[in-house]
């Protein structure tokens, strides 16, 4: 563990911005969002969390998989990820990246585009200072201080920040600014432990979950409960668009100036056309089917297949859902 003084942090920020492409939370039109910053002053690090997760820097809403020119026969491969530093990711969102790593980097079918971006973007997380009412990261142990999946963890303590290097990529970045850091003292570590305990205690959600019960969610489904909840759902798909973990995608081929393009981008299981096949067959024809699927996938199928929960407790879906559908209520019943 290292200690970085307030002044040292300012110098680190300036140093990063002048030498690298830095993406940080900024204030934009009434909400916080990640943006590439040109100078250190633009970064707004006193934020609750960003409205949308940093997922899009690894899995863009739309990307070109390849282009093919039928006249010349040339196949254009997409540009791979460019070097960047993603600063100020909250622990829950950083943990979502480790869930995605479990899913998208594992053989036999790793996603090369995701892999290249994951390799070229250094993620620096910033522990929470004040959880929101919707937050429930304590349930999945993905926060409020220190997540998994980041390269460096920063935690604000008196007089500066506690720095924990979490990966080789993080170490390389720290080595470039070695003079700014000092070894953390016992009082720093003590304050960190105390902060971690206090914040976890402050979290409003007290849900105990057991993996054995959740993985059987599908078999033990209480249809009445889900029917009632699904009645409220307006199928707007905001839950999956705002989710830091949701990774389902769609592909489309189209012609652009006589060049074939294959695009890939976010899709959502809330959409009625998501599972509809060309023949017209639809394995999830009703809203209740689709509604159940979302929870079963996150809480039961992903844990069974990839040994990680598909939810990190960031609380975005709870807050943004116009109908007030609350995944915590599912957890309370089946956790």
């Amino acid at each position: 563990m290292l200690f970085l003084s307030e002044d040292g942090f300012k110098r680190l920020l300036n140093g990063l911005v002048s030498s690298r492409n830095v993406i940080a939370p900024v204030e934009a039109n009434g909400y916080f969002d990640f943006k590439t910053i040109k100078h250190a002053g633009e970064a707004f690090l006193d934020y609750s969390n960003t409205r949308l997760p940093p997922k899009r820097f690894f899995l863009p809403q739309r990307e070109i998989v390849f282009k093919h020119d039928p006249k010349t026969g040339v196949l254009h491969e997409p540009a791979l990820g460019s070097e960047a530093v993603l600063l100020g990711v909250r622990p829950c969102d950083a943990s979502a990246l480790s869930v995605l790593d479990n899913i998208l980097l594992k053989p036999p079918n790793p996603d090369p585009l995701y892999e290249s971006r994951r390799r070229s973007i250094t993620v620096i997380s910033l522990s929470c200072a004040k959880p929101r009412e919707e937050c429930f990261c304590n349930v999945f142990e993905t926060g409020p201080v220190r997540g998994s999946g980041e390269d460096i963890t920063l935690t604000r303590i008196t007089g500066g920040l506690l720095v924990e290097v979490r990966s080789g990529r993080g170490q390389i970045l720290i080595d470039g600014f070695a003079s700014l850091f000092e070894e953390a003292g016992a009082q720093h570590l003590e304050e960190y432990e105390e902060l971690s305990r206090r914040l976890t205690k402050e979290m409003s959600s007290r849900i105990e979950i057991a993996r054995e019960r959740l993985v059987r969610l599908e078999e033990t489904l209480d249809e009445k409960f889900f029917q009632n909840e699904a009645q409220k759902c307006v199928e707007c798909s905001l839950c999956s668009f705002a989710c830091p973990v949701c990774y389902c995608f769609d592909t489309e081929d189209y012609l652009e100036k006589n060049v074939y393009v294959r695009a890939k981008g976010w899709d959502t299981c809330a959409s009625p056309v998501f599972t509809r096949m060309a023949s017209g067959l639809d394995p999830r024809p009703s809203k209740v089917d689709r509604f159940c699927h979302r929870f079963c996938h996150k809480l039961s199928r992903i844990p069974m297949a990839f040994n990680a929960y598909g939810c990190v407790g960031c609380g975005r879906c709870v807050s943004l859902c116009p109908a007030g559908v609350d995944i915590r209520e599912v957890l309370k019943r089946w956790g």
Binding site: R132, V234, S237, D250, G315, A323
Partner: protein, 274 residues
């Protein structure tokens, strides 16, 4: 609990008790805010709430509840959308009981990642033309609370729609939250014609928003559900308001005001001149 809320609950309890309706669509508390709820037992009527957090337009649910006798809690704008739905043959007036709540404006929702906890009146409420639903079986008055509307403004300052649309995620929650977007085959979402595909951002963002805007012209009741549901805060109601203004100037029609007045496109006849 306010007196208005108490009155709302007792009306709901009575309606369910006497089996005049099978289901009441209203709002309940959820965390620090409120959310829609469905109440089917008289003893559950006590959870209904009514306050300035109730931004969602419950008329959105009517299309999914056809065939049931429904009691619905409606603000002024919600009532106006019910009027439009009746005129467009989407709702049978005989099967719904409207509990109209007098509205003094709703607050802009305090959502995840908002940069300020300071609450203010939603912009679209400043352009409100009816505080009470034009169709009402019961009217719940407010307790003489000061109107939240300080200065009704039209907001004529030009907006840069180009850069606003660019933020759009094409999540389509504006469509899904809208009580009047009831097409079973949406021209924007559908595959035939494949007007807007989610993967062809950003070229098709304009097709999407302008198509939707034209579909809302002269129909939108400016309840603001789309705008409040939007995760990237595009002021959609402003866009539809401007089209509504154009419609009013040219056809003298304001949507949702009276059940009797027919929407001009519905009474248009080929070959007939004024």
């Amino acid at each position: 609990m306010s007196r208005a809320e108490e009155e709302l609950r007792s009306i709901a309890r009575r309606l369910l008790d006497r089996k005049e309706v099978e289901l009441i669509v209203g709002y309940e508390y959820h965390g620090g805010s409120v959310r829609p709820c469905f109440v089917s037992k008289p003893e559950e009527a006590g959870k209904l709430v009514w306050n300035a957090e109730c931004w969602f337009n419950l008329a959105r649910y009517l299309r999914g509840l056809r065939g049931l006798r429904i009691g619905i809690v409606a603000k002024g704008c919600d009532g106006r959308s019910i009027v439009e739905l009746i005129k467009e043959n989407q709702v049978d007036k005989g099967s719904i009981v409207v509990i109209a709540v007098e509205c003094t404006g709703v607050l802009k929702p305090y959502k995840y990642g908002s940069n300020s906890a300071e609450r203010r009146l939603a912009d679209y409420c400043r352009r409100c033309v009816s505080r009470v639903s034009p169709v009402a079986d019961y009217i719940v008055k407010q307790d003489g609370q000061a109107h939240l509307v300080e200065n009704p403004v039209n907001g004529k300052d030009a907006l840069d729609w180009l850069s606003l649309f660019r933020k759009c995620l094409k999540c389509m929650s504006c469509i899904k939250a809208c009580p009047l977007c009831y097409c079973t085959e949406c021209s924007i979402e559908g595959f035939k014609p494949d007007l807007v595909h989610r993967l062809r951002v950003p070229q098709e963002l304009f097709t999407f928003h302008l198509t939707r805007a034209l579909h809302m012209a002269g129909r939108c009741v400016e309840c603001g559900a789309c705008e409040s549901a939007c995760p990237v805060e595009i002021p959609l109601t402003r866009l539809y308001h401007e089209l509504n203004e154009w419609f009013r100037e040219n056809y003298g029609y304001v949507p949702g005001v009276s059940v009797k007045e027919a929407p001009p496109p519905l009474v248009f006849k080929e070959g007939v001149e004024d």
